[in-house]
């Protein structure tokens, strides 16, 4: 790990001590960052535009929530279950997603997201429907740490899981598998000429992406002890897309930076009329596409290149 990376990871650790009143928000940011990382793998690296990624986040959340509600409150095993169920959902739907090209594929991801939302809505007796799933009773983490209202345990738990997820993804994207995903993103029709089945690579990437999204969802369920229908909504999928693009897709750290900036600003402007918020998000998206395609980290890169060039 490079020095800048070590410094980067010390920031959330420092925040734990420096901003004790913001630990709950902090956990939320860490969890959503993990969710954004999962989308980065699918979109930033493999080039699959997904408008329904929240489906897997929600699946993981409901899996972990239902498990705890029905008596099994052990956190870590609950997370494993959440990730596994989401991975299964991702694997099954991946065959639908990899079949089409571009526009069709986009539609399929949208359709799948909407289907999962409808399913959760209709299964109200199980999922709690519009009212959400309550009664998610969590046991002690590792048998020792109880989930306290101040969010201490939740924060550390989320940070550790985020870091672990990040390490796994980093190995993935730097590996031959990751390189092949980048190639698929850059020019999918050239890839079969290298003897690669594009479909099987995308199925793998999509499944891993779903698993990690489910992991994040499970974290949310366990740390907030609640699962709402909005965890599967199109709104959530779209917002995630904004966060990822804001930070810069295809570079892992962009997902984390984008999430942090978005959610901090959202918290600061919480008093703002939601109409204004929606308008500015829309404008931000348009501006990013027209002017700052690489997001925040892309702009930093460009700035540093210019600085280096001039000195």
């Amino acid at each position: 790990m490079r020095k800048t990376e070590v410094a980067f990871w010390l920031v959330p650790v420092a925040c734990f001590f420096l901003f004790p009143d913001y630990r709950v928000l902090g956990s939320q940011i860490l969890i959503t960052a993990l969710f954004a990382l999962s989308l980065d793998l699918v979109l930033g690296y493999a080039g699959v535009i997904s408008l329904g990624h929240a489906a897997f986040f929600g699946v993981g959340a409901y899996a972990a929530g239902l498990l705890a509600r029905h008596g099994w409150g052990e956190p870590v095993s609950g997370l494993v279950v959440a990730a596994s169920v989401a991975a299964a959902a991702g694997w099954v739907t991946s065959f639908l997603v990899v079949r089409g090209r571009d526009f069709t594929r986009l539609m399929v991801t949208l359709g799948i997201g909407l289907l999962f939302f409808e399913a959760a809505n209709r299964a109200a007796p199980v999922t709690g429907g519009v009212d959400g799933l309550t009664g998610v009773a969590m046991g002690r983490l590792l048998g020792v740490f109880a989930f306290d209202l101040g969010g201490r345990t939740a924060y550390v738990y989320s940070l550790v899981v985020l870091f672990a997820g990040f390490i796994v993804l980093r190995a993935l994207v730097n590996s031959p598998f990751g390189l092949s995903l980048c190639a698929i993103r850059e020019n999918a029709s050239r890839v079969p000429a290298l003897g690669v089945s594009v479909r099987s690579r995308l199925v793998a990437a999509y499944t891993v992406g779903a698993a990690i999204a489910g992991l994040a969802g499970g974290l949310l369920a366990q740390t907030t002890q609640f699962v709402g229908l909005d965890s599967l909504s199109f709104q959530r999928s779209a917002e995630l897309l904004v966060m990822l693009v804001l930070g810069g897709a295809g570079r892992l750290y962009g997902a984390i930076v984008g999430t942090a900036v978005f959610m901090v600003v959202q918290d600061v402007l919480a008093g703002m009329n939601p109409v204004y918020w929606q308008f500015w998000i829309g404008l931000l998206l348009v501006a990013i596409v027209l002017a700052a395609r690489g997001g925040i980290l892309g702009a930093v890169d460009a700035g540093m290149a210019r600085w280096r060039g001039s000195s």
Binding site: A171, L172, N174, S175, P176, F177, G178, L179, S180, C182, A183, E186, N187, S189, R190, V191, P192, A193, L194, G195, V196, S197, V198, R201, A204
Partner: protein
Amino acid sequence: MAGIVVTAALRTVGLTKRWGGFEANRNVTLELAVGERHALIGPNGAGKTTLVNLLTGVLVPTAGEVFIGAKNVTRLAQHERVRHGMTRTYQVTSLFPRLTVLESVVLAILEREGSGMRWLRPVSAYADAQGEARSLMERLRLVSDAHTPVRHLAYGRQRLVEIALALATKPSILLLDEPAAGIPGDQSAEVFEVIAGLPRDVTVLFIEHDMGIVFRFAERVSVLAAGELLMQGTPAEVAADERVRRIYLGEAAHG
């Protein structure tokens, strides 16, 4: 005395591709011996690239079959045919814009070795692949651009990367679609020297317009016109053929 049957490296039988009323290729039957250097020529629109697309599996034929050695590969997808040793380059450069030259070549090598699904070690740790990539880039004078993203390269240099990718797969059958097109004059001869220097068990089919190159490097020539195989023979035979002269002369008269 038992007859010895020598299996052709690449063979097609009655290969046809029809789109609605338009026949891009009709009844093309070809045979390439192992190690043969075979040129495919013909006027523009004759169906040469379509034929390569049919051979590689990019297009599904309306009729006819394709054999690699003794194996009927007509039903196989493109990536599966590559696994059987057939690689191609593209007439219009088709590369990975934001990958560097080194990354592109290393990718091709890793996929060839079957390491494509490995995810634990970083690409930089595969020393053999990295070394092989370097020597391949040296042969094609691409080392200076090793860390340049492909999209920033001049067109001629990009064509060289096309060749590098094809060679990296260590094919037994190499299909080159106008390999030297766009490469500055002095370098194009170099490229063909590299191709001519390929091991004798590699079969090469190349589409070419430059008759000088065809004469220098081709052992046999197939002439495609209006989707059909007009004739086959040595370069000298083809150059002397009246019909061939007519279609090229005809083209020159109109062009």
